[in-house]
Amino acid sequence: MALATKRWDLLLIMTAPPHYADTFTTVLRLADAVLRRDGSARVWACGYSTMLTQDTHGETKPTNTRAPDVDHPSSASIVRDLISGHGGRFGWIGCTACSDERGATNHIGEVLLRSPGRLMATMSTSAKTIFIGGA
């Protein structure tokens, strides 16, 4: 018996590099808003966005010298908390080709790794897909 394919409300394909604009923040805000409405969302990270979920980031960003007593979570930590905190309604996929090209192969364990050959199949399981280009 074939397993039922899980359906998602929203797929965000993020090929834009993460730090030249506030795209990553917008993606997180949009995903968070969907989750608050009991929807489901996942992100397909391509290009340099694969760097966001490297386990080498640790739990927090380097200390902000203007606010040394405050811990700011790393991008990997934020993604991990979103995945683990919503009962399977949030997912993060790392593109294997983009990860390999950049040596970004040490993703946190919560990240699902997929070949770009599965992009179309991934899109087909989502009600809506938003492609965020700019790589």
Binding site: D22, T26, D32, G39, K128, I130, G133
Partner: protein
Amino acid sequence: MSELASGSSTQGRVGGSYLMIESQGPWAGPNAGRFVRDAAELAAAGTAVVLLLVQDGVLAALGGPSDALDRLRRNGGTVWVDGFSLRQRALPVAKLCEGAAVVDMDTVAAVLLAESGQAVWH
């Protein structure tokens, strides 16, 4: 994008619906202006269009509207401006062009979850 976006202004439209998300400012290059022109053309062709300005894209709604933004509105399109992006850039709501509505991401999520239209990001 029906009643959430513009109420009766979408009545009688013949096409589908689009949520068009502009994240780049008017000075990032010509493509941002082209994207807004595309939104205006879709609205003119009878498609329900919501243009969401986010990140540097909010700059397009400051002061007087561009010709494309004005045309989009005259054709029945809706202009949304992300409030977080405005606050992050210390831009006052009072400076927005006429007809631009400040929204939060919850409003955007509601549209994405509830409706069958397409979403396009630039």
